[in-house]
Point group: C2
Chain length 140, copies 2
């Protein structure tokens, strides 16, 4: 990621945010590739483990993924045997982790906690505690 001194864009918060997110996601994707999971797959696994029996729409709301786009995502996870769809009533279904899903989740956790540590480590100590709060302030 070159940062030429005469780059007039590098100082702009919006531009820096975009580039940083881009670089971060490229690296996380690579680290998750051995598990055969995309970033959104991993997010879903983590979420359904933390809050059991969520419906597809609830997951979508929490992760800001549209209903329509949840379908292929969950199909993929179900096809890989990581989740199951269990009927709640005749309309809704709960998404639950299978045993294989739980096992995969453990691998995901290992990779992501390592990843998040590495990420934070690259931020100079004096800026570090401000990083997540600043980002969260942008999400209200």
């Amino acid at each position: 990621m070159p940062q030429p001194p005469d780059d007039p864009l590098g100082q702009l918060p919006g531009y820096a945010l975009r580039r940083a997110a881009q670089a971060m996601m490229a690296e996380l994707s690579q680290r998750l590739a051995p598990l055969d999971l995309r970033i959104s797959d991993a997010s879903v696994l983590m979420l359904v483990a933390a809050r059991r029996d969520m419906t597809s729409s609830e997951i979508g709301k929490a992760l800001d993924i549209q209903r329509a786009n949840m379908v292929p995502l969950l199909n993929r996870l179900e096809g890989a045997g990581l989740i199951r769809r269990e009927p709640i009533d005749r309309k809704s279904q709960a998404i639950v982790l299978s045993d294989a899903g739980l096992a995969r989740l453990e691998q995901v956790r290992a990779i992501t906690t390592r990843f998040e540590d590495d990420l934070l480590a690259r931020i100079p100590a004096q800026h570090r505690p401000h990083f997540v709060p600043a980002l969260q302030a942008l999400l209200d």
Copy 2:
């Protein structure tokens, strides 16, 4: 952008970074839409104004856009009459702003400086000075 208290992901720097960047870009896109420009279009205009006579590949390197993807982008800008391609030698061409491009750039500047101000304003004052430095640390 909901941030439920029992969201196990919201605290993760990587996840927060992704979501913040997503939200930011969605909003910037909207603000640029009246100018009929995408975010990358605007970046290119700003860059070619600051460093004149750059070639397509140089722009790509600076903005981290691949050669192949620069082509339709520049075609679009050229089609809109905002830039011209001027031959340097028989292989390379300089990208230069047209008069219309310069005028459009002024509008871009108005929108982006306003946007960047608004963005920073949403970050609490004690975190604000740490924001861009932290992001830049992730880009090395």
